[in-house]
Every structure is written in C-alpha cells, then in structure tokens.
C-alpha cells in the first residue's frame, strides 16, 4: 500500500481486497476485482530440476504444453516469464535431463512449448510446470490429462509478487 507507483487497475484491486478484508460479505466482489494467486499443487515439484535450459522444443516434440501467466490482483499478463516444463514422455522419464525444458511467455503472458507425448506414470498421465525465477513466489503445477491420448495440456499461473 505504500507503493507510490500505482495504476488505476491495481488501485481498484487494492480497494477491492481492502473491502474484502473489512467486509467478508463483499468477498464475491473482491474475487471479481482481485485475482488470487495460484497455489502450488501437491506433487507438483516432484522430480524438479533447477535451471532447465530454455529450448525451442523438448526432444522430438508432437505434444503441446501451453498456458498463461498473469499477476495476482489485477490479472495483468506477464511477459518474458520463464516457465519450466517436465514430464514422463515417450522419450524419457520425469527425472531425466532430456525430459526438462523451459520457455518464456510472450507479450500476452502466453506460453507454448512442444515436447514429446506425455504417457501415464504413477497412475496418471500428467505434466509438471514450475515458475521459479524469484520475482514472484515460486509455483509448481501438476495438471492431469483428461485422456492419455490427448495431444496437449494446459496450465495457468497467477503469480504473486515477492
């Protein structure tokens, strides 16, 4: 609240969250005004390797991992954020180096990285994503595919400034 640099949007968001704190009855209004940060999912950090390189594609590709990265509160898209992705795929197990890669978000906060087909492991076809660059709180996600035959998977981050 002491920050001088404050755009109109974040002012509204701050006002909204203040109202929410003061008046729990207006919680629904606050939700519309201020986006809550995405919590890490349980098991999300499993087989994480710090500092996977930014790549054009993981392995031979054929599967798309995509999503968005936004700021908590005002929901502003965050460009240039590094998102790390890994999974058990047709080309390697989760912990193996070749199964890990990272990409950066575009100006709209979107990211999209081609990777090998994810296959079920430990009972579920799932991927892992991490935001771990330090500017915002670290978040680990573990989205599950609806079907093991899916050719894509999405995960969305709402990050909270540190």
């Amino acid at each position: 609240m002491t920050t001088v640099l404050m755009c109109r949007r974040s002012l509204i968001a701050a006002g909204g969250s203040f109202l929410a704190t003061g008046l729990p009855g207006l919680l629904s209004l606050a939700r519309a005004e201020g986006l809550a940060p995405t919590p890490s999912m349980s098991g999300g950090a499993n087989n994480y390797r710090k500092g996977a390189p930014i790549v054009d594609r993981i392995g031979k590709g054929g599967f798309w991992m995509s999503g968005t990265v936004r700021r908590s509160g005002d929901g502003a898209p965050l460009a240039g954020q590094r998102i790390q992705i890994w999974a058990h795929t047709t080309e390697g197990q989760e912990h193996e180096l070749q199964s890990h890669g990272a990409t950066l978000t575009d100006k709209n906060g979107g990211f999209r990285l081609e990777m090998p087909q994810i296959v079920p492991v430990f009972g579920q076809p799932h991927g892992h994503l991490a935001y771990d660059s330090g500017e915002f709180h670290t978040v680990f996600l573990r989205p599950v595919m609806r079907s093991a035959k899916d050719k894509s998977l999405e995960a969305h981050f709402i990050l909270q400034p540190v």
């Binding site: 098991g43 950090a45 912990h95 296959v119 492991v121 579920q124």
Partner: protein, 209 residues
C-alpha cells in the same frame, strides 16, 4: 463329474489371474518404463491376484486344497503377498522417490495412493500378527476379529487402488479380477459368518457346529 468341476474351477481361476497379467504384459507403456518400474508394476498386479486367492484358499473352495491344505497355502501365500507388496513399493520408490514418499505420507495428489498405502499397512499388520499371535498369546476370537477387519481393509483398499490407476492393466480384465476378489471375500465371510463372536479357531463350519 467331480473332475470336470474341479478342472473348470481351476481353469476359471487361472484365466482370471493370467488374463490381466497377460494384458498388462502387452501394454505399450512398458516401452517407456525402466525395468525396476516394470517389475514394481507387475508385483502390484501379482499381489492383487493373491488377494483373490486368499479367501478362496481359506474358504476351502479350491478343489484339491480343502481344509488344512488350503489353510497352509493361505499362510504361505500371505507371506508371498507381503513380499510382493514390499517389491511393489520398493520398486516404485527406486523409480521415483518423491512420488513414493508423497504416497507414504498421504500427501500424494493421486487418490489411489491412499487406498494402496492403507492396504499395504493392513497386509503388513496381518502378516506380523499371524506370525506373532501365538507368541503374544492372542486369543482366537481376538485374532479372528483383527484378521477380519484387516482383510476387509486389504480387499477394499487393494481393489479401489487398482481400479483408480491408469496404468498397464487393461480395463476389463482388471475390473473382472477386482469383482472376483470382492466376491470371493464376501462369500467366505458370509459362509463362515464372521460377524459371529463365537468362532472356531480351526475355521470349522459353524452352520454345522
């Protein structure tokens, strides 16, 4: 006639156990798994098959293994079951330690882990109890009640655990094995009227006694 009936029962049992194992062996997922993970997976399927065998043996339903012989087999298969589960869990731990640790700490994102881990502890508990019950002077009725409760946990936990997993097992053969396992457990409990307090330690038929 008796021979035909015996052959039929054994053939059905072999099919119920071998079909899911054969379908699992044909799973394309093995191509992308390490050998330890594959062994761990099969140990789990094998354990489920043993959970089907256990009530059939103790109930004396299997031709050629009535009464004492069935009970002896039940004891030894109980030991093999505990070993199979240890291989299953140990192999999964080696394959992906964080996933196995999450499961054992009940903090896994996958609901089937909880069922499996609870069934695992019940299997270990019943094995230890069976080994020590004479030494610690457990009364037959207490033992019977404890075994009964643990058996229910093992069967329900094991079946739900298997059904919820998306893995190498083929859906229909897995469902059939699970249904038979449940049915066998329910049948032996009804036949032996396990809810009765007074019971024979040797497992005699109460309806006749």
């Amino acid at each position: 006639m008796r021979v035909a009936r015996a052959t039929l029962i054994w053939a059905a049992l072999v099919a119920a156990i071998c079909a899911p194992i054969a379908f699992a062996a044909a799973s394309p997922l093995h191509a992308w798994r390490g050998s330890v993970y594959i062994i761990a997976g099969f140990a789990g399927i094998f354990a489920l098959a043993l959970v089907l065998l256990q009530p059939l043996l103790i109930g004396g339903y299997l031709p050629g293994l009535p009464g004492y012989r069935g009970r002896r087999a039940h004891h030894w298969i109980g030991v093999v079951l505990a070993v199979a589960v240890a291989i299953h869990v140990g192999g999964l731990w080696i394959s992906s330690p964080p996933d196995m640790i999450d499961a054992l700490l009940f903090s896994s994102p996958t609901p089937f882990s909880t069922w499996g881990v609870i069934a695992m502890w019940a299997i270990f508990a019943v094995t230890i109890l069976a080994a020590l019950r004479r030494k610690v002077g457990l009364s037959p009725s207490t033992w019977r009640l404890a075994h009964m409760v643990l058996a229910v946990i093992i069967v329900v936990g094991g079946v739900v655990h298997s059904l919820l997993i998306e893995g190498t097992m083929e859906t229909m053969s897995k469902a059939a094995l699970c249904a038979l396992t449940l049915a066998a457990a329910i049948k032996v409990m009804i036949d032996r009227r396990v809810w009765r307090r007074r019971a024979t330690s040797r497992g005699g038929n109460l309806s006749k006694g």
